[in-house]
Symmetry: C2
Subunit: 198 residues, 2 copies
DNA sequence: TTTACTTTATGATTTGAGTCATAAACCGAT
DNA sequence: ATCGGTTTATGACTCAAATCATAAAGTAAA
């Protein structure tokens, strides 16, 4: 999102995380801007009985975790590496400088936040009021535009496990599996050796 | 959010809406920036069978509906006047100018978006994975900080109808009524002639 | 190729929020 | 004071998703 050159010229450093590593935790005070060089990161919450809710999955060139940085608020969720990954990290004061100096960066930030707010608006309305199949279809369509998909001859391949879909929509795995099958029967999607295509 | 003087010096105009009036509709192309002078506005979706989901309720000095403006996307929800209200309206090109010229305005926009994203993150995790009482309590605590409350000797008075709470959390009115009562029994909240206090 | 683990799959059962019906309490306008 | 509309309230019943149990299929590592 922020061009590499700019980040590097402003003393951002690189850091690698192994799959499963925790980048920051819910409740911590944010001190840095993070942008993905390669790999994938999820932001998620765990509720009292250990169930996970995935706020979003981010990949190359995307940033995450800025909102509380601007609000002097604690992180509302955890950031965890979904795969091995490498990040640019920029300290809060340097990041804020960069924004103030550079109108195009601040516009990029605005667009990025607007983007994520849009996703949340759409999914919030879905999650709260629709049946599982509808919810999943929306997630699938949304994920095609924004994460984890590759275009193949059979259509777009959704690179999410059933469990991830469950955690993104607030459903249980079993419900996702059953709904996915129902959607296949209705010809809304295809399943080719367990992968979902649309 | 954007100072009145600035809005006026940039040719924003004022417009009044009666209670219930539709300011814009889901699916329309955004052309303006809106900021509330007085009154309240809700953004909401209606699903196939007419049920409403409230994305947020906004009041004095708050703006709404910017995200799709930045993304050249259609409105994902309707904006409806909850009470009689008056708004500042600024055309898209003038608004974008204003942001580009003025770093403090663009920072204000960033903070505003971050704020709303934060609310959505918190509520998304709640809505998708918690029991009604937990969900409602979170909404109540959040609404104390951000909308529709007044501090009284009995505590904060939540100025939301049961129906609004239902539409904000994705629950049904009856469930809200029952859960609110259960919360009162557990001494989490007070109910004084039908109003909720916390 | 065997082992250990993850992901997908499927049936049986439970449960709690949704739905439906009905009514009381409240509020504003005439 | 009366009337129409909204908001709150409550009970009975339904049903779909969650839960529980169990296993097959796939995958990665030793």
């Amino acid at each position: 999102m922020i061009p590499e050159e700019l980040l590097e010229s402003h003393q951002a450093f690189r850091k690698k995380y192994a799959k499963g590593a925790i980048i920051f935790r819910e409740g911590e005070l944010p001190n840095h801007y993070f942008q993905i060089i390669h790999g994938e990161v999820k932001m998620c919450n765990f509720n009292d009985d250990g169930r996970e809710f995935i706020q979003g999955i981010f990949s190359t060139k995307q940033s995450f975790g800025e909102p509380p940085l601007f609000l002097n608020r604690l992180y509302p969720a955890n950031a965890i590496a979904v795969s091995d990954c490498e990040l640019f990290i920029l300290s809060k004061p340097l990041f804020l400088n960069l924004i103030n100096e550079n109108a195009s960066v601040s516009m990029a930030i605005i667009e990025n936040l607007a983007q994520r707010l849009h996703y949340k608006s759409v999914m919030a309305a879905e999650i709260s009021s629709q049946e599982p199949e509808h919810r999943l279809l929306k997630l699938i369509d949304y994920s095609i535009r924004f994460f984890k998909t590759e275009k193949e001859k059979e259509g777009y391949r959704i690179d999410l496990t059933r469990q991830q879909m469950a955690d993104l929509t607030g459903l249980r795995v079993e419900t996702v599996i059953r709904s996915i099958k129902a959607l296949e029967k209705k010809n809304e999607i295809k399943i080719i050796n367990r992968k979902v295509y649309r």
